[in-house]
Subunit: 331 residues, 2 copies
Amino acid sequence: MRKRATAKEVGEAAGVSKWTVIRAFKPGASITDEAKRKIMEAAEKLNYSPNLLARSLSTNVTHQVAVLVDDFANPQKLPFLESLTERLQAAGLVAMLININNHFDHVHALLNADQRLVDAIILLGTAFRDETLNDRRLGPGMPPMFVLARDSQIEGVPAVVCDSEVGLRDIVDHLYERGYRRPGFMTGASALSTALKRRHHFAEFWRQKGVEHIVDISAERYSREDGGASAREYLKKTSPEDRVDVLMCENDILAIGAMETIRSEFGVSVPEDIAVVGFDNYELGATPAFGLTTYEQPCREMVDLIVEMVTGKREGETISLPGKLVVRSST
Amino acid sequence: MRKRATAKEVGEAAGVSKWTVIRAFKPGASITDEAKRKIMEAAEKLNYSPNLLARSLSTNVTHQVAVLVDDFANPQKLPFLESLTERLQAAGLVAMLININNHFDHVHALLNADQRLVDAIILLGTAFRDETLNDRRLGPGMPPMFVLARDSQIEGVPAVVCDSEVGLRDIVDHLYERGYRRPGFMTGASALSTALKRRHHFAEFWRQKGVEHIVDISAERYSREDGGASAREYLKKTSPEDRVDVLMCENDILAIGAMETIRSEFGVSVPEDIAVVGFDNYELGATPAFGLTTYEQPCREMVDLIVEMVTGKREGETISLPGKLVVRSST
DNA sequence: AGCGATTTTGCACCCGGGTGCAAGATGTTT
DNA sequence: AAACATCTTGCACCCGGGTGCAAAATCGCT
């Protein structure tokens, strides 16, 4: 059982050598129609298909791409994974999904991917530190790496990101126009460059409008509970008249957690007392219960670009794409 | 660039043959400490690690498992993917994530996985038809297959599922006890066996309690919009006094969609006028805005079992695990 | 028919590592 | 020191397919 036919066997069945069989499966190779027909017939009978492993060994191309994910708690990962696998498959590639966690760190994952000779490595919004890549175990021969939906300052590792500068300008413009003047910003894991960048632009655009002070609130992780917990802590220690009038959260999950806590535990209404803004346009944010104003990352375009880079159709250079402000009832 | 050191090269650097190098990397092989030390030193210097592709070619074991997913719209996939990748990795395996869609069907995916010589194929809650497996292109030599979070009637293809019989009995008991007597059931893609089974048990348990009539509502797909749309259609054509008093939805996404439409468009209150029940215990259902009563699938246990089957630690035989009723404010 | 041009096919040897066996090295016993 | 047991190492050949080249077959033309 579990015995695959080989080119040699097909050749014997069709009365040709194994090399001719291999040619029959190589588009554009020189072969007679007659021979090809016989071979295909025999191949079908024997249920033959080329062994991709063996092929990869000699061609040095595996058509496999490692996708590293370390934040499955973020539901935004799902649409990214969906688009990414779809596009990769359309390009003849397949994704090896690698879960980075406490038992399997980035260096492990990179070495593993390298050992499996993947054609490329995509870091999907992972929170890895740039120093990770300087690990001495990581030789110079690693497969090319790309970062998706997160910044990369690393030399030679291009990224495709949603332009947080444009995004936050749009958001701040919108909030200013709506009359909000006392902004707060909730970060998740604040040490990450993406977080810092968003925070930075948020503050910068408010400053340009004459608002100097930003209230900082930080959640432990990117989860609904943590968003709620940090909002709770803030509201507890701040009297109603001192509170922010709009709370920008680093992503939709934090925003939903915060919004729910604000409403249900403090009787504060959204957006009348405090407006809430998220980031990502997570599907459920659109539901009437939330009506979350947010900023949509151009997921499909981002994925298209990264796949073009991976397949070499496009030069590997960091690209920022503008997203789209989605205004709903929370502001 | 992108040149990996080979065992032969390491051997030359360490003054031994390539076979000795290979042994140095094979646990339990016979080799002197001295030789091993020299080899490891040379290996580190040359940044050598065994080429897993080449190894797989001769051992016929790839340590790769294909995971087929065709329903990325269901957020429940994310925790399953997370646990699954984590467990597989802990067992030394890696997941190839294959997206089944209009451009890449099940047969394609299976053939692709086979060509890549994966050790096993896991169908993650996919809506494939049993006939798919009878496709003539699928030979008898396919890798072993397992179904996760969905039923399998297929001979030789074991499944790990959440026991819908126990689950629905718990749900119906709970609803009956709360005093509901006019139940409705909302299915997604109703042709699927999982859906039919849940529907069947739901009706059966009500019958045992003397309630014969179940109102059937069906949504096109498993999405919030479709759940909302089918609830809308139902409420439109049914006068308040004729309506169900509890609506059981096949999963949480449908339930949330239905609940939101019921509340916001018809001013019907949940649970006073109509109670709503979901299935899966999707994380956001816990938020105060929804407070969705639901049934939690034992995700981690299910994944543990399927990984044990994949690794051969457990016999491949369909297993049903009981889940856990989670009562919240929607009932 | 005969010659050269072109296409098709077979072959030796490669990709990087794994296996079983036998030769070589080391160690133990008398 | 010889004889034997044991451990370590090298080797031939395997896994399944890919490459470049040369032999063989086919084609076109005079």
